[in-house]
Amino acid sequence: MAVVHGQKMVFKREGHVGRGICKNCGHDAYMTLCRHLNQGTLFWIPVVNIEKERGIMCESCGYIYPMDRQEYKEARDKVKKGIDK
Protein backbone atom coordinates (compact mmCIF):
# COMPACT_ATOMS: atom_id res chain seq x y z
CA MET A 1 0.00 0.00 0.00
CA ALA A 2 1.35 3.39 -0.95
CA VAL A 3 1.79 5.71 2.04
CA VAL A 4 1.37 9.27 0.88
CA HIS A 5 3.38 11.58 3.08
CA GLY A 6 4.81 15.02 2.81
CA GLN A 7 5.48 18.28 4.54
CA LYS A 8 4.33 21.83 4.28
CA MET A 9 5.26 25.12 5.84
CA VAL A 10 2.52 26.93 7.68
CA PHE A 11 2.33 30.30 9.38
CA LYS A 12 -0.24 30.01 12.15
CA ARG A 13 -1.61 33.35 13.27
CA GLU A 14 -3.02 33.44 16.77
CA GLY A 15 -4.37 36.95 17.10
CA HIS A 16 -3.41 40.61 16.93
CA VAL A 17 -1.40 42.02 19.80
CA GLY A 18 -1.72 45.64 18.69
CA ARG A 19 -0.07 48.06 16.31
CA GLY A 20 3.49 49.29 16.28
CA ILE A 21 6.34 50.60 14.19
CA CYS A 22 8.27 47.67 12.79
CA LYS A 23 12.05 47.99 13.11
CA ASN A 24 12.55 46.04 9.92
CA CYS A 25 10.27 47.87 7.48
CA GLY A 26 9.52 51.07 9.40
CA HIS A 27 5.78 50.80 8.81
CA ASP A 28 3.10 51.31 11.42
CA ALA A 29 1.40 47.93 11.09
CA TYR A 30 -0.61 45.36 12.98
CA MET A 31 1.51 42.96 14.98
CA THR A 32 0.27 39.37 15.17
CA LEU A 33 1.21 36.49 17.39
CA CYS A 34 2.42 33.87 14.95
CA ARG A 35 4.10 30.50 14.77
CA HIS A 36 6.04 29.23 11.78
CA LEU A 37 5.47 25.47 11.60
CA ASN A 38 6.84 22.67 9.51
CA GLN A 39 3.88 20.27 9.27
CA GLY A 40 4.46 16.63 8.49
CA THR A 41 1.49 15.14 6.68
CA LEU A 42 0.17 11.61 6.14
CA PHE A 43 -2.35 11.28 3.33
CA TRP A 44 -2.45 15.09 3.30
CA ILE A 45 -3.54 15.19 6.93
CA PRO A 46 -1.15 17.11 9.20
CA VAL A 47 0.04 14.73 11.90
CA VAL A 48 3.05 16.44 13.40
CA ASN A 49 4.02 20.09 13.88
CA ILE A 50 7.63 21.09 14.21
CA GLU A 51 7.95 24.68 15.32
CA LYS A 52 10.55 26.60 13.34
CA GLU A 53 10.00 29.95 15.00
CA ARG A 54 7.48 31.75 17.18
CA GLY A 55 6.95 35.37 17.99
CA ILE A 56 5.29 38.59 16.96
CA MET A 57 4.95 39.05 13.22
CA CYS A 58 4.70 42.37 11.43
CA GLU A 59 1.76 42.24 9.01
CA SER A 60 3.53 44.59 6.63
CA CYS A 61 6.80 42.76 6.00
CA GLY A 62 6.34 39.36 7.68
CA TYR A 63 9.34 39.78 9.97
CA ILE A 64 8.95 37.72 13.15
CA TYR A 65 10.31 39.09 16.41
CA PRO A 66 11.25 35.93 18.31
CA MET A 67 9.87 35.08 21.75
CA ASP A 68 10.71 32.26 24.11
CA ARG A 69 8.16 29.55 24.82
CA GLN A 70 6.94 30.93 28.13
CA GLU A 71 6.57 34.49 26.85
CA TYR A 72 4.69 33.23 23.81
CA LYS A 73 2.32 31.14 25.92
CA GLU A 74 1.54 34.10 28.17
CA ALA A 75 0.95 36.36 25.21
CA ARG A 76 -1.30 33.78 23.58
CA ASP A 77 -3.36 33.42 26.76
CA LYS A 78 -3.78 37.20 26.93
CA VAL A 79 -4.91 37.33 23.31
CA LYS A 80 -7.40 34.50 23.89
CA LYS A 81 -8.82 36.25 26.96
CA GLY A 82 -9.15 39.41 24.90
CA ILE A 83 -11.04 37.52 22.19
CA ASP A 84 -13.35 35.77 24.68
CA LYS A 85 -14.45 39.05 26.35
Binding site: G26, C34, H36, C61, G62, Y63
Partner: protein
Protein backbone atom coordinates in the same frame (compact mmCIF):
# COMPACT_ATOMS: atom_id res chain seq x y z
CA UNK B 1 32.14 40.07 -35.45
CA UNK B 2 28.51 39.83 -36.45
CA UNK B 3 27.58 41.07 -33.00
CA UNK B 4 29.83 44.12 -33.40
CA UNK B 5 28.29 44.77 -36.82
CA UNK B 6 24.87 44.64 -35.19
CA UNK B 7 25.99 47.29 -32.76
CA UNK B 8 27.27 49.42 -35.64
CA UNK B 9 30.90 49.33 -34.52
CA UNK B 10 33.20 51.11 -36.97
CA UNK B 11 30.68 53.65 -38.15
CA UNK B 12 31.48 56.64 -35.94
CA UNK B 13 33.69 58.20 -33.26
CA UNK B 14 31.73 56.77 -30.34
CA UNK B 15 32.82 53.22 -31.21
CA UNK B 16 34.79 52.76 -27.99
CA UNK B 17 31.65 53.35 -25.94
CA UNK B 18 29.64 51.05 -28.18
CA UNK B 19 32.27 48.38 -27.77
CA UNK B 20 32.22 48.82 -23.99
CA UNK B 21 28.43 48.60 -23.99
CA UNK B 22 28.63 45.45 -26.05
CA UNK B 23 31.10 43.90 -23.66
CA UNK B 24 28.87 44.79 -20.73
CA UNK B 25 25.92 43.16 -22.43
CA UNK B 26 27.91 40.05 -23.16
CA UNK B 27 29.19 39.84 -19.57
CA UNK B 28 25.67 40.31 -18.19
CA UNK B 29 24.44 37.41 -20.26
CA UNK B 30 27.34 35.20 -19.23
CA UNK B 31 26.95 36.16 -15.60
CA UNK B 32 23.40 35.11 -15.37
CA UNK B 33 23.84 31.96 -17.43
CA UNK B 34 20.24 31.97 -18.54
CA UNK B 35 19.20 29.62 -21.24
CA UNK B 36 16.78 29.42 -24.12
CA UNK B 37 13.92 31.88 -24.45
CA UNK B 38 14.88 34.06 -21.53
CA UNK B 39 18.38 34.57 -22.92
CA UNK B 40 16.86 35.60 -26.25
CA UNK B 41 14.61 38.11 -24.49
CA UNK B 42 17.51 39.57 -22.56
CA UNK B 43 19.56 39.87 -25.75
CA UNK B 44 16.64 41.47 -27.57
CA UNK B 45 16.09 43.91 -24.73
CA UNK B 46 19.79 44.82 -24.66
CA UNK B 47 19.74 45.32 -28.40
CA UNK B 48 16.74 47.66 -28.12
CA UNK B 49 18.38 49.61 -25.33
CA UNK B 50 21.59 49.90 -27.28
CA UNK B 51 19.67 51.28 -30.28
CA UNK B 52 17.94 53.83 -28.03
CA UNK B 53 21.25 54.78 -26.41
CA UNK B 54 20.09 53.92 -22.89
CA UNK B 55 22.54 51.02 -22.48
CA UNK B 56 25.42 53.49 -22.15
CA UNK B 57 23.74 55.01 -19.08
CA UNK B 58 23.62 51.58 -17.47
CA UNK B 59 27.21 50.88 -18.40
CA UNK B 60 28.36 54.15 -16.79
CA UNK B 61 26.48 53.28 -13.63
CA UNK B 62 27.93 49.75 -13.40
CA UNK B 63 31.48 50.71 -14.25
CA UNK B 64 32.31 51.79 -10.69
CA UNK B 65 34.02 49.35 -8.29
CA UNK B 66 31.15 49.07 -5.80
CA UNK B 67 28.71 47.62 -8.34
CA UNK B 68 27.33 44.26 -7.28
CA UNK B 69 26.35 41.29 -9.45
CA UNK B 70 24.63 38.35 -7.79
CA UNK B 71 24.08 35.27 -9.94
CA UNK B 72 22.44 33.43 -7.06
CA UNK B 73 19.77 36.05 -6.47
CA UNK B 74 19.53 37.25 -10.10
CA UNK B 75 20.12 40.88 -9.15
CA UNK B 76 22.69 43.47 -10.17
CA UNK B 77 22.95 47.04 -8.94
CA UNK B 78 25.20 50.04 -9.35
CA UNK B 79 24.97 53.47 -7.79
CA UNK B 80 21.67 54.37 -9.41
CA UNK B 81 20.11 51.41 -11.20
CA UNK B 82 19.11 47.94 -10.13
CA UNK B 83 18.59 45.13 -12.64
CA UNK B 84 16.31 42.26 -11.70
CA UNK B 85 16.90 39.26 -13.96
CA UNK B 86 14.25 37.10 -12.30
CA UNK B 87 11.47 38.98 -14.11
CA UNK B 88 10.77 36.16 -16.55
CA UNK B 89 8.49 37.69 -19.17
CA UNK B 90 10.23 41.02 -19.60
CA UNK B 91 13.81 39.76 -19.88
CA UNK B 92 15.06 41.94 -17.10
CA UNK B 93 13.62 44.82 -15.13
CA UNK B 94 15.43 48.10 -14.51
CA UNK B 95 14.70 50.09 -11.39
CA UNK B 96 15.90 53.59 -10.61
CA UNK B 97 17.24 53.53 -7.06
CA UNK B 98 16.77 57.29 -6.77
CA UNK B 99 13.02 56.64 -6.66
CA UNK B 100 13.39 54.10 -3.86
CA UNK B 101 12.61 55.44 -0.40
CA UNK B 102 12.83 52.27 1.70
CA UNK B 103 14.62 48.91 1.48
CA UNK B 104 14.00 45.95 3.79
CA UNK B 105 13.75 42.19 3.88
CA UNK B 106 10.21 41.00 3.27
CA UNK B 107 8.42 37.67 3.18
CA UNK B 108 4.88 39.01 2.99
CA UNK B 109 3.21 38.66 -0.40
CA UNK B 110 -0.42 39.75 -0.88
CA UNK B 111 -0.95 39.73 2.89
CA UNK B 112 0.31 36.18 3.37
CA UNK B 113 3.70 35.31 4.92
CA UNK B 114 5.89 33.17 2.70
CA UNK B 115 8.83 30.83 3.19
CA UNK B 116 10.77 32.77 0.55
CA UNK B 117 12.47 36.00 1.59
CA UNK B 118 12.72 38.95 -0.81
CA UNK B 119 14.29 42.36 -0.89
CA UNK B 120 11.46 44.90 -0.83
CA UNK B 121 12.03 48.20 -2.61
CA UNK B 122 9.44 50.83 -1.75
CA UNK B 123 8.87 54.20 -3.34
CA UNK B 124 7.75 57.25 -1.35
CA UNK B 125 4.08 56.57 -2.25
CA UNK B 126 4.31 53.09 -0.68
CA UNK B 127 4.40 51.08 -3.88
CA UNK B 128 6.48 47.96 -3.22
CA UNK B 129 8.51 45.79 -5.59
CA UNK B 130 10.04 42.49 -4.50
CA UNK B 131 13.36 41.36 -5.97
CA UNK B 132 16.01 38.75 -5.29
CA UNK B 133 14.23 35.75 -3.75
CA UNK B 134 16.08 33.65 -1.16
CA UNK B 135 15.19 30.50 0.75
CA UNK B 136 16.93 31.81 3.85
CA UNK B 137 18.93 34.78 5.02
CA UNK B 138 22.58 34.51 4.02
CA UNK B 139 25.51 36.83 4.46
CA UNK B 140 25.38 37.78 0.81
CA UNK B 141 21.67 38.56 0.98
CA UNK B 142 22.04 40.63 4.16
CA UNK B 143 24.97 42.44 2.56
CA UNK B 144 22.90 43.33 -0.49
CA UNK B 145 20.10 44.71 1.71
CA UNK B 146 22.62 46.75 3.72
CA UNK B 147 24.20 48.14 0.52
CA UNK B 148 20.84 49.08 -0.96
CA UNK B 149 19.78 50.73 2.31
CA UNK B 150 22.98 52.77 2.21
CA UNK B 151 22.30 53.83 -1.39
CA UNK B 152 18.73 54.91 -0.55
CA UNK B 153 19.95 56.81 2.52
CA UNK B 154 22.38 58.73 0.33
CA UNK B 155 19.45 59.48 -1.99
CA UNK B 156 17.46 60.93 0.94
CA UNK B 157 15.40 57.85 1.69
CA UNK B 158 14.34 56.19 4.94
CA UNK B 159 16.68 56.57 7.91
CA UNK B 160 15.80 53.65 10.24
CA UNK B 161 17.99 50.55 10.78
Amino acid sequence: MAFFALLGIGDSEGDVYLLAAGIFAFVAILMFGTAGTKKKRIKAQLREMEEEGSLQILYNDFSYTGAKFSKKYQVAYGRRYLLDFAAAKEGFRIMDLQEIHNVFRCNMVDGEPQETIYIALETADGSRTLVGSAAKMTEEFSGMIANLKQITRLNGGAQWQ
